[in-house]
Symmetry: C2
């Protein structure tokens, strides 16, 4: 069997190190689409793009772990076709007060669960990113869906939560993207050809290259910061989200937010025009 | 006197090394505006942004020399205010058949002339970029205008050449830019705050941050490659251009091209709507 559940569950991935500086932080922001549809001298743009007043969009916390997660392919007990992988869910927790604009960090990672979804398997991978002094910066939980690898008689995992309440959203934020947004985003590390190569996209059934799930994720985070954190990214402490459908670069992401408490909001996102949900069952955490 | 002409003329700058790879090459292309106003799956976009079929826009040749040129400020015999510096002219020659997408290079540089323009001085700096094997890749000539430093009784240098012939241009290429184009371009190395900081821009008399002259320059080069090289950047061998007026990010650069011979074209660029010339007295060299 291509996924040997007993071998894989609990297995640690190879630790990786990752260094970032202001250039990486700015490139990540530009990759999400900061500056698109906004004035380039808007303080909300400059705080993410100008090194003299730079703040990190905290969803950057997924970036350092990327090389680590790549270790899934080819780990002992995993023989899967990378083209069959879909990013199912992401849960980032920011563990520090303010994300540093420059850091050298180490990632450790472990497969915590393997779930059987029938049509596929879900690998749950937890990563922890610490700076060189050992201070925890980010915790991530990836849920990686591997098509065709289910049906092994395992547990299917908990059902999706974070359903929006039965009322209109308290906030609605529109975030435009560029038609070549994925080409910019991929410079932050995820060079999967699905996001740039029309032939590769067609091979897996897409009419054209799709936006990275984590690019959409960062924009949902940015919308929460704008609507619920007074545009102060240091107040954003986490986002647990499920990828329901891909965004096509150039589309406008519409994030709807329901305030549940001072520190928790339920989130859902769709794309303008198509009206399809792209992020569901999502919850963001905020510090007061 | 802030520029000691006798000391400065002929003086060599500190050599610098610069490494680049496909990420730098793609980031440069995105900084110029590749992908803006075009389909993201256009082969003309992908050849500059997708590592699997990557070609270098040859005007990238200015990028490796940037740190070297910064050595002008504070060199023996030069005491100038960096805010008084304007980029006057740029002459790049591509010395290799095809610009490598990955390279470790060394730059040497020398001030070859100091001209007296009355209202300012012009420092002419020649740089040579060679790869680690000693193979020449780029030659650049910078003409740096230093406001307020003229009137020392020196030669004023040759008058501008490369006047367009008295007929309509043979080619006209429109190149749109993003309103935050300069914010992307500056990640290629030139972080002068004039291109992002509204207060710094105002201090030197601009209503808002302006586009880097070398960003405009790269777009003029790109227009020549499109119109005269069948979109094959390896045929582009050089561009000698004068910066007449700055482009505001978001403007569309209109490059007009007159074919003089199989290997030489005269070039001029203005911005759509304002009709102001931004690049003048320019000539590009093409291989057949």
């Amino acid at each position: 069997m291509p996924i040997d559940v007993e071998k894989v569950r609990g297995q640690e991935l190879e630790p990786t190190t990752f260094e970032w500086n202001d250039k990486d932080v700015i490139l990540y922001a530009l990759g999400l689409g900061v500056g698109v549809g906004a004035s380039p001298v808007d303080p909300g743009v400059l705080q993410y793009t100008y090194e003299n007043q730079l703040k990190v969009i905290p969803t950057f916390g997924v970036v350092p772990t990327f090389s680590c997660i790549m270790g899934l392919i080819g780990m002992d007990g995993v023989e899967i076709n990378p083209m069959m992988i879909l990013h199912g869910e992401q849960n980032l927790e920011v563990l520090c007060d303010e994300v540093p604009t420059k850091c050298r960090a180490t990632n450790t990672a472990k497969v915590t669960e393997v779930w059987d979804k029938g049509k596929g398997a879900v690998l749950v991978v937890e990563t922890l990113t610490k700076d060189d002094a050992g201070k925890p910066i980010f915790r991530n939980e990836y849920k990686i869906f591997v098509r065709g690898e289910g049906g092994f008689g395992g547990e299917s995992g908990p059902p999706p939560g974070n359903k929006p309440p039965d009322r209109a959203a308290d906030f609605k934020v529109e975030t435009p993207t560029l038609e070549h947004q994925a080409i910019i985003y991929r410079l932050s590390g995820d060079r999967n050809p699905l996001h740039i190569d029309p032939q590769m996209a067609a091979m897996v059934g897409f009419e054209r290259p799709i936006l990275h799930g984590l690019c959409t994720y960062g924009n949902v985070g940015r919308a929460v910061i704008e609507a619920c954190c007074g545009n102060d990214p240091t107040k954003f402490k986490g986002l647990d989200a499920r990828f329901a459908s891909p965004v096509i670069p150039g589309e406008t992401i519409v994030t709807e937010i329901w305030k549940e408490s001072d520190t928790e909001v339920i989130v859902k996102a769709n794309v303008k025009g198509r009206g399809i949900d792209v992020v569901k069952n999502a919850k963001a955490t905020i510090s007061v």
